[in-house]
Amino acid sequence: MHIKVAGTYIGKFGELWEQSLSDLLKEGLREVVKDAQLPEEAIEAIFVANKAAGSFNEQRHLGALASEQFAYQPPAMRIEGACASGGLAVAAAAQALMSGLYQTVLVVGVEKMTDVSSAVASAILATAASREKEYGSTFPALYSVLANYHMHHFGTTRRQLSEVVVQNHAHALNNPQAQFHKALTVEQVEASPLVADPLRLLDCSPISDGVAAVILTTRECSRQTTLLGFGQGQDTLALMDRADLGSLQATTRAAKQALARAGVTRQQIQAAEVHDCFSIAEILAAEDLGFFAKGEAAGNLTTDRSPVIFNPSGGLKACGHPVGATGVKQIAFLSREIESGRFDLALAHNVGGSGATAVVSILGKTT
C-alpha cells in the first residue's frame, strides 16, 4: 500500500454548544484542505464517518451536506459502523484508492451528540447493540458484563481499571484538542458515581461533539506518514452469541490482517491509539491486539513494562468520543506524531458496538 496521509485536522472535542453538526462538518472539510495545502479540486471523493446524526440531529444524507461545501460537488458518501464508523471510512477510502478509481480522497468524521439529554443519548447509542437480543442494556452495561467476566476469570482488579483512566487523563494534558485537561487519581475514579457495576462515571468515555479529517493520496506528497495496512474484523452483534466473553475476536482478526498487509510485526509498533470507550476496553484491546497475553495487560499496560505507549492522545476517555470522529481522529493524531518524529510506527484500533466490528490501521514513516 502506498497511501500517504497528505493532510490532517482535529477540531477541539467537547460540549461545543455554539457549533451545529453542519458547522463542525464545514470546519473539518475547510481546515483539512488548508492543512494539506491542496487546491480544493484535488479532492476527488469524500467519505463521511458518522454514527447517528439522523437521531441526534435529525439530519441524514451527510454525503450531500459534505459535497455541497465544494463548488464542484465531488462524490460523497456516509459510512456507518457504530463507534467504528471512522475506522471504516478510512478503510473504505483506502480501498477506493487501491482500486485506482481515485488518487486523492478526503475522510471526515463528525458527531454532534450534546443537543439531547444523556438518557436519550444512551438510548441512541444503544441502537448499536442488538435490538432483539439486548433489550434493557446500555453500552456501559454491556462493557460491565465484559469487565465482570474479565475480573472473575483473570483476576483483573478495580484498581487496575482506575489506573488505565489515570494514565489516559495524564496523556490528555499534552493534547490541546482533548475534551478534558484534568489529572485524576485512582481515588477520584473510584469515588465517582456507579454507572454499571464495576464501571463508574470516570471509567466511561464522555458524550462529545467533534470533527476530525484526513486527506489520503496515492500521488507524490511531501508528508512522510503512510497508511501501511488496515484490517477489519467482525463478530456477532450480541454478546450472548459469543463463545468467549474474555476477548473481542473482531479486534484479533483485524489486527492480524493489518499487520500482514503492512508487513510489520507488533514488536515494531511504538504507540497505539486503542478504543477505550470504557477502561476495561483498553485492557481487552491490549490483549486482543497481541501486546500482552490474556490476563496480563491490566497489571502491565500502565507501567514501563508495556511494549507500546497506549493512547498518547488521551484516548476516547480523556480526549473525548464524538463517535463518528473518533476513528478518523486516531489516524490524524498518529500521523501528526509520526510527522513530528515522535514515533516511526503506530497502530490505530477502532471498535463498533461491544466488539461486533473492529478496524485496525498501521501507520508508519516513509520517505
Binding site: 456501559p140 465482570n148 467476566y149 457495576d197 450472548m240
Partner: protein
Amino acid sequence: MLITEYWRSHQNWSKYLGKRGQVVASSHMEVAASDQVSLTPYSYVLVDIDGERLSLMGGVGEDFAIGDQVMVVLRKIKKEAPSEVLTYGLKVTKKGANG
C-alpha cells in the same frame, strides 16, 4: 421499543417462561436508557438456559453473580407511557429458581 417489536417479542415468551438456568455474566446498572430510567437500579444478566444463551433484565432489587441459579419470569420491562399498554417482557429471578 417500537410497539411492533414488542408484539413480535411475544412469540418467544412461551418458549422460555418458567425455564431455569445459570448466570454466565452480569451487570448491575445504576444508569439506564430513557425507556428504563424509572426502573433503575436493575441488573442485566447473561444466562445459560439448556445450552442456549439469553440476555435479560433482572428482577427488581435483585443482584446476580456468575453461577447463580435463575428462573425466567414475566415482569414489567419499560416505563409506562400514556399511549401504550403496560409493557411486560421476560426477566430472570433467583426467587424459586432452586425450588
